[in-house]
């Protein structure tokens, strides 16, 4: 069907009215362009928002205390309490589906005062007291040395692991970092490791402004004892944290004499739930993208169909002549179908190429300007491109169908009589 003669026939016919061919093609070009770009933007939004979650283990939650809201067993409401290290032990032993339970404490924070000194240099950083498991929940790249270890925990060693931005503000270039000392809130710590966040995006600045020290050292050096600021809890794979978090709360409530129905006493942030919610949102957005894109594309296709109809009408006489010369109805139909198919696919390909170019420019600009809130790496998968191509082929055929039929509906004698 796709022989060379057919091709030159079709190219001749399309060439015969270049401007109209161009206008026709533009509809589909535009449709597929919008379709692909829309999906790419949706994807960019998704990548951006999802990266705000960081690559923290998704099946996790954070849990802290907020003060009771109900009196219970003689204790008044509005009472504050703290988790202790033995709560962590109890969670680990009584709820086997928990993979990691990391108690955490924090000093300093966003735009806090200077709290770290090294020689004449000072800086304001976030100081965390952590257990070794934490690096399994929050993946990071250890650049030099190591992360906090259990022997650090047990011996309450005054050691720290510092982020790349900490190094930048406290050290000269080429200075040896490992083994050097920094003074945190007046206490000297030896640097045993440096890190950066794995494939960080979005809040990477804050992340690299961080210093990790052993949890136990934190308690001793900054007078927290074995009190726990909050916990990062990850469930084992296959058991959603959302499904077992109530067990965690119940255990904590009973250990701290909190009314079982006092839901305000324990604060938490369920990462997996939020993650699922976001995922759901983006599935909806993607569906909307497909829908709107397909509608725009459809109007392009209707345009092709329309113009092919006009073309057929204008060429009624030519079609009559061709039939007088021996063209069978299917030859004529095939040619019209093929014309519309080629027009659709060609303009669609140009549309896809152009949208790829626009997406590339967008990515280039994003790279130049640095990270943008909630938007990163707009892109489409090959699946989308193939879907678009299949839509193009099907719709090219559909667009040609009505015109092709109308081309051969007329008797040759009537077609020839048309002026």
């Amino acid at each position: 069907m796709f022989n060379k003669d057919r091709w030159s026939e079709i190219i001749e016919a399309l060439n015969a009215n270049k401007f109209r061919t161009f206008l026709t093609a533009f509809g589909v070009f535009w449709g597929i362009f919008i379709f692909v770009v829309l999906l790419a933007l949706t994807n960019g939004l998704k990548n951006g928002v999802m990266s705000d979650f960081g690559d923290f283990a998704t099946n996790s939650m954070f849990m802290w205390t907020q003060g009771t809201s109900k009196p219970y067993k003689g204790l008044p409401k509005g009472r504050y309490f703290n988790y202790k290290l033995d709560d962590v032990a109890a969670l680990k032993s009584e709820i086997p589906n928990l993979k990691y339970v990391s108690p955490r404490n924090q000093l300093g924070g966003f735009q806090g005062a200077n709290n770290v000194i090294r020689g004449t240099k000072t800086g304001a950083f976030e100081i965390y007291g952590d257990y070794p498991e934490y690096i399994k929940q929050q993946p990071m790249d250890i650049l030099q040395g190591r992360f906090v270890s259990y022997s650090d925990i047990n011996s309450k060693r005054k050691v720290c692991v510092i982020g790349t931005d900490v190094i930048k503000s406290l050290y000269d270039k080429d200075e040896e970092v490992l083994g050097s000392y920094v003074k945190i809130n007046g206490v000297n710590f030896m640097v045993v490791g440096t890190f950066k966040m794995s494939n960080s995006q979005g809040d990477n600045e804050q992340d690299a402004n961080t210093i990790y020290i052993p949890f136990t050292t934190f308690g001793q050096a900054f007078n927290r004892g074995d009190r726990v600021g909050w916990m990062a809890i990850t469930a084992v794979d296959g058991v959603p944290i959302t499904s077992i978090k109530q067990q965690v709360f119940d255990l904590m409530k009973s250990r701290h004499t909190v009314a079982p129905d006092d839901d305000r006493a324990i604060g938490h942030w369920d990462l997996s739930e939020q993650f699922a919610r976001m995922n759901g949102l983006f599935i909806i957005l993607t569906v909307v993208g497909y829908f709107v894109g397909a509608l725009v594309l459809m109007s392009g296709i209707i345009g092709i169909s329309n113009i092919m109809l006009i073309v057929v009408k204008e060429r009624t006489k030519e079609i009559g002549v061709r039939r007088a010369l021996g063209a069978s109805p299917w030859t004529i139909k095939g040619q019209i179908l093929q014309e519309s198919l080629i027009l659709t696919i060609l303009s669609g390909m140009v549309g896809i190429s152009f949208s790829a170019f626009v997406i590339w420019v967008l990515n280039y600009l994003l790279d130049m300007s640095g990270p943008v809130d909630s938007f990163a790496n707009p892109s489409v998968s090959m699946t989308v491109v193939f879907t678009a191509l299949i839509i193009l082929v099907v719709s090219g055929l559909l667009a040609g169908l009505i015109p092709a039929n109308s081309a051969t509906k007329m008797k040759p004698v009537d077609a020839l009589r048309i002026e």
Partner: protein, 233 residues
């Protein structure tokens, strides 16, 4: 070559119906050059279109070279048109975006003949009508007479059994008309059966037989002494 018996055709427009052909009987033998005459509206074109399978008669019998032409589906009709018939129209009906050569080659394209062979044959027929140097010109670059000669070459390209020409000189001046008739006579001399619809007596006299139509019936059918067109050119 052509046998027609009691052919009827009427056109229906709303509640009116117009009986155009009211029982045509005639026969054309191989190698004849026949002109069909008659006043405007007498049904000449209608008859020729039926002979050309572009239209269908209501009743009657039509046999073309032994093949009964009745209730053909469009695919078979297309094949018959391609192999048996060549058309020459008053308004040439060349495809305006195709060169003279490609126009001539078109019927061969529908026979699925390979391009190279098509071009060779088309060149041969263009040469025959004296337009070899014009083969790559578009119809818009040709004079009326030249266009009609391209159309004749096209009609000849598939080597049909019968040529059907509906007022082939209708759009041409006298001199060019005679040139075209000279060409048609030459083709007929080689043995091709040709039917020409015309208004003009001088053109009709250049054929070998004149069939006169009036009010949908043949009122006269007689052979004539052929006037050679070459003596006027």
């Amino acid at each position: 070559m052509i046998q027609i018996k009691d052919l009827h055709k009427s056109y229906h427009m709303g509640s009116n119906s117009l009986h155009v052909l009211k029982g045509i009987n005639f026969e054309v033998k191989e190698g004849e050059l026949v002109s069909i005459m008659g006043s405007s509206g007498s049904g000449k074109s209608t008859l020729l279109n039926i002979l050309g399978m572009l239209d269908e008669a209501d009743t009657g019998q039509y046999i073309l070279d032994g093949f009964p032409i009745k209730n053909l589906n469009e695919k078979v009709a297309a094949k018959y048109r391609n192999e048996f018939l060549g058309f020459i129209f008053q308004s040439f009906n060349l495809i305006n975006y195709k060169s003279a050569l490609d126009n001539v080659a078109l019927p061969l394209y529908y026979q699925n003949i390979k391009r190279k062979e098509r071009i060779e044959k088309a060149e041969h027929y263009l040469e025959k009508v004296g337009l070899a140097q014009w083969s790559h010109h578009l119809p818009s670059e040709l004079s009326g007479g030249q266009k009609q000669r391209v159309a004749i070459a096209r009609a000849l390209a598939s080597d049909p059994k019968v040529l059907l020409a509906d007022e082939p000189t209708g759009a041409l001046d006298t001199k060019t008309s005679y040139e075209v008739m000279e060409l048609i006579q030459g083709i007929n001399d080689e043995g091709k059966t040709i039917l020409v619809v015309t208004h003009e007596n001088d053109i009709a006299n250049m054929t070998k037989r004149i069939v006169n139509l009036k009010d949908g019936v043949i009122i006269d059918d007689s052979t004539v002494e052929q006037v050679r067109a070459s003596q006027y050119v």
